[in-house]
Symmetry: C2
């Protein structure tokens, strides 16, 4: 048996080496060093059914050191993992064939350079940007906790999966990992195990040159269980460490594994082993070292696949089958809960999910969109039990606290709580939200829009992975007022809008907020960013204005020129829609017909058929004024050559909002003047 | 004396309370709790001359918990700090008058909501976004180390300043602070002291709800000296702790101070004390508690200003005067070095700084702009000794290693080194770079463009502060190739370009790289981002093309239509300039005259007089094709209504570059086709 273990480990190693060599690109050293650990975990511990890699109670494996992707590709191949639509269906064909491995890093290969969620089944989250995988794993473990608390019943341990993340020195250095580790320690996530592949080599050299902290002591300070494996090749020690994780019930576990990058190759323990193929001589030397045939590429010795089938394969099948039996009993005993878990898996909404959505009567005084959003969120959350989330220590300001009976605080001793306290950790907040979304809860987090900068890399991953994470950002402009330029977003909207796949909503009033949430709730594969005001905004009277349901089209005519043939179009989002409406009145007094277009979601508008877009923005009307308390960057697409944009091209200032509006020119007079000038100039 | 200390502390507290009350906005609780510590530090330890707050060897005080800005405003007022142009000149008037304090958070007040560098003298760095101040302080301490290593001589301890940062629970939770603390520990920065104002209260409540790690143990793990003050009001204990920092010679120091937010007010120890005025009753109760007259606002008791004058004032004046005497001797003994330190203070370049800049001969094969940039950087660094920097563990890839004789690695035992190893810590890398720039070195850091996302918040601060930090980003597009979409930037360029005050350069060839660096070296008050290719790019033959000096104008005509009257304009940056040139050839073969405009820096182009801009992009030529391997977001400004953009509107893919160029349409044929279609369509 021990011999077969070694053979399997070395098979993995050589597949990784060959894939990189064939691609003439990639990272051979990390898989060579850590293969024994990944092997032991998969073969002997991971509760994972290769025949159904989306079985809901599977253990999650996150390859946080995503550059070692060949390790995952090799394991997916050797264990015979089936392809799936990652959200819904087992497709049956293998996820990774030997031919796929041979096309590593080629266009459309199932084996890309880094693991990509929704592209290769068995990939639980997209990794590569360091620190993201481990941080995301914390969200998965939190989601596991919540699922267990809500759905497990006496005799029905429906959800008890563990989450493993394999991370390198780079991950350990990233701030997002520190934030997430601190949060995991607070939550005593005993279902979470990070394996730290400590090979002490990074791209610039030995970690001695910059990373000399005591990582184990740091994690003890976070409240983790820490154990060490002195030699990655000591399979018995690796097993013992994984057993110690399983035995731990109060804390997350960090297993520090001392490994050797490029183990068995001529460049062992050197940075050269990190990011380049070994070259033909290196490959041969490594294969010789591992006792594998030197001249055979992509070689899988007899018995290795069978060995995996008897290990993870048989165990996973049995665990899964017994879970399915359990679930049949559960369905009989707890039909409503069973139904919920099925909806969750298919990312579907329960019947009546929108029944409690409020209707906001017209109100010239109105309320801040952060406030109306808070009300809508609470209404939605009461009917959508798996809508859970929290804030990066700003819930009282972002108004995202769920306050209805039973919502409660999510804490180690109250894992049914719906309100997470994420702390002043924006980056981890977004990553944790991603992790919860990958377990298919509907999670959100909130912060000030300016702090989206801190979380940018994780927001991007939600878009790249096509998962419906919800990012709620309030205090969305110089409307922040006195806190000043450090807290006033200017370029953040442009940065988020430029991100492919992210839907950015900036609603103008409570009515648009309701419709924004209605659209967001229905998303299956897109993350959304909600951009909300700190200051009060009138609730518009929809009996005389375009209906807020226009949000679904991204932009719509809110108020038209009296004649129906506008001379000028005022385009705005959020708080500036009201400015546009005021300017329209002024222009009307001057006999100028202006149309006001509210544009809460550019991305949705861009997807409308040309006919609709031309209806909202008639190409013949070239006099257009864009108005937004944000960078003008990107507005030219809508205002065109002859249009003008009233926005921010500098940072803001610390002052009460009214002073800022005058200083930066967000007044009806200025908008009207700009419009008038365009109309008077006539077609160029 | 002890009584005067207490009176001074309470004066500070009440000024803070009154300023917030008057503004009806702000954060009274933190200053009330931590005032005794800030007072003790300023009055008894800080080597700072209020009469010259830019004295180069002053200790730096960073208010990382920037929301407590009134604490700083009060101290600046009471110690009589003079106003300065923050870079160059003492202006003489007070930095903060009592009237300024009374206009806290009003438009144009010297006392804005958060400390803003270059706006109020005595502010060493802009703070507010949590974690940034402490991370920046590490850069200041590193710069201090380097200055000492280069300029101190036997008998001339020219630079021996310390750096203090006052931080709250929020700062301690932020990942950027963790990254920076780990780096500071590695560098054994005994000149760095963080004071952790541990009041255990954040906006959502007690830190118990999310932040239960052992911070002291964590910092010990980073290699710090940690000491604790049990009660912020125990001035003797605070003094002892600060002495222990001064006595420590091997490690940075963390002083954990247990404090009470809103101390002395009815909302003491509650989140309500954080971000709202106390209200009239609360103010009166607090003043009563502190034994101050309840009905006097902005009250400075007799003797308090004099007390500060005798403490920090007298000490600072003496230290400064003795330093000036020292410097006179130094100037005589070490004139060349003395000259350098003066140039540094005025952000000036030494004579001959550009003498070694290379000239790259035309070469169709060429080299990657990361490679040419590496060569230029090395040439520049040899003549500009205080150009120092490093990489977030990617120097071999970003080519930013200084390799000339004597450059060396910056390490605890070799602080003269020019190469910092910043580790896989992008966010701290940018913040540390800001810190070094604030001490007026010319620092840079490098990483892959995709990882600019991690560092976004710190890059923004360099722009907001108007400091010439240099951010070097390579691997700038799908040109990254096999690493795939996690590593291929798409929206990063748009996000950086939308940031006010940041100059973003994407040079097309080695010639433009030289001119980019020439422009960047001369910057005084603007940060720059260099965006460079991983892949080789031809070095253009400038004898037949427009001169690379056009970089200084942001955009320029690289190649014109044979007739000089172009039918179509091809606009491109970086690697796509070469694509544009190829397409131009194709079009010429079809008899279509195309102009190629290289646009390495949009921001500089936007600043040119309209005449120049119209010369480069004649308004009459409406057939325009923008080409960039990045999000098309923002391009409409240049291509106009009738133009088209060939860019990325999705994420990339893992594949060799050639396959990606075809897949995503970056081929001369497609560009030529797009141009031809526009020309054939004629004016609309």
């Amino acid at each position: 048996m021990a011999e077969l273990d070694t053979l399997a480990v070395n098979t993995v190693r050589c597949l990784c080496v060959d894939a990189v060599e064939q691609a003439e690109s990639g990272h051979p050293g990390t898989p060579m060093g850590i293969a024994p650990v990944a092997y032991t975990l998969w073969q002997k511990f991971l509760r994972f059914d290769p025949a159904d890699p989306i079985w809901p109670n599977r253990d999650r494996f996150v390859l946080s050191e995503g550059h070692a992707s060949t390790l995952l590709w090799s394991l997916l191949h050797l264990t015979g993992v089936r392809a799936v639509d990652p959200d819904y269906e087992v497709l049956g064909r293998p996820a990774v064939t030997l031919d796929d491995l041979k096309t590593f890093r080629q266009l459309d290969s199932r084996c890309p350079g880094h693991p990509e969620y929704r592209w290769t089944s068995g990939v639980e989250t997209t990794t590569g940007p360091l620190g993201q995988g481990v941080a995301t794993s914390v969200g998965m473990a939190l989601a596991g906790r919540w699922l267990a608390a809500r759905y497990n019943q006496p005799g029905f341990s429906l959800f008890d999966f563990d989450v493993y993340a394999l991370a390198g020195d780079g991950c350990m250095m990233e701030g997002v990992a520190s934030e997430a580790a601190s949060l995991a320690g607070h939550h005593r996530l005993a279902n979470l195990c990070w394996i730290y592949d400590s090979n002490r080599i990074t791209i610039e050299g030995h970690t001695d040159i910059t990373f000399t902290e005591d990582v184990a002591a740091r994690f003890l300070a976070y409240g983790w269980n820490v154990t060490t494996v002195a030699d990655a090749n000591d399979l018995a020690a690796v097993e013992r460490a994984l057993h110690s994780f399983r035995a731990e019930t109060e804390r997350p576990t960090l297993i520090v594994v001392h490994s050797h990058i490029g183990y068995g190759s001529p460049v062992e323990d050197s940075p050269e082993a990190h990011g380049s193929p070994l070259g033909p001589d290196g490959v041969r030397a490594a294969k010789r070292f591992f006792g594998m045939p030197e001249d055979q590429d992509f070689y899988v010795p007899d018995g290795v696949r069978e060995h995996f089938a008897q290990g993870i394969g048989a165990r996973g099948a049995e665990l899964h089958a017994s879970w399915e039996r359990l679930f049949e009993g559960y369905r009989a005993a707890w039909p409503a809960f069973a139904k919920e878990t099925e909806l969750i898996q298919r990312r579907e909404l329960p019947d009546g999910w929108d029944q409690l959505l409020p209707d906001f009567p017209p109100d010239p005084k109105g309320l801040a969109t952060r406030d109306s959003s808070g009300k809508v969120l609470n209404a939605l959350a009461q009917r959508l039990p798996w809508l859970i989330g929290g804030s990066a220590d700003l819930a009282p300001s972002t108004k995202t606290l769920l306050t209805f009976g039973g919502a409660g605080s999510f804490q180690p001793d109250s894992p049914l709580g719906r309100n997470l306290h994420l702390g002043v950790r924006e980056h981890a907040s977004a990553a944790v939200t991603n992790g919860m979304a990958l377990v298919k809860l509907r999670p959100y987090w909130s912060g000030f829009l300016i702090f989206s900068d801190y979380a940018k890399a994780a927001i991007r991953l939600s878009a790249l992975m096509e998962i419906p994470a919800i990012h709620i950002f309030t205090h969305d402009s110089i409307g922040v007022g006195e806190d000043g330029p450090t807290h006033q977003p200017v370029e953040q909207l442009a940065g988020l809008r430029a991100m492919p796949g992210l839907l950015v909503f900036r609603p103008a009033d409570a009515g648009e907020v309701v419709e924004t949430w209605r659209a967001v709730a229905r998303l299956h594969h897109e993350p959304a960013a909600l951009v909300l005001s700190r200051q009060k905004l009138p609730t518009l009277d929809r009996s005389v204005l375009g209906p807020a349901s226009g949000v679904a089209h991204g932009a719509y005519v809110l108020a038209d020129a009296p004649s129906g043939a506008p001379q000028v179009i005022l385009l705005a989002t959020g708080s500036e829609v009201h400015l546009a409406l005021s300017a329209r009145e002024e222009l009307a007094a001057d006999g100028i017909g202006a149309r006001v277009v509210s544009m809460p979601c550019w991305e949705l508008f861009d997807r409308q058929p040309r006919e609709y877009r031309d209806q909202v923005l008639p190409p013949s009307v070239k006099a257009r004024v864009g108005i937004e308390q944000a960078s003008t960057f990107g507005w030219d697409r809508y205002v065109g050559d002859r249009g003008t944009v009233i926005g921010m091209n500098t940072y803001g200032a610390s002052a009460p909002l009214k002073q800022l509006l005058t200083r930066f020119g967000f007044t009806p007079e200025r908008v009207a003047r700009a419009a008038r000038e365009l109309v008077e100039a006539g077609p160029s």
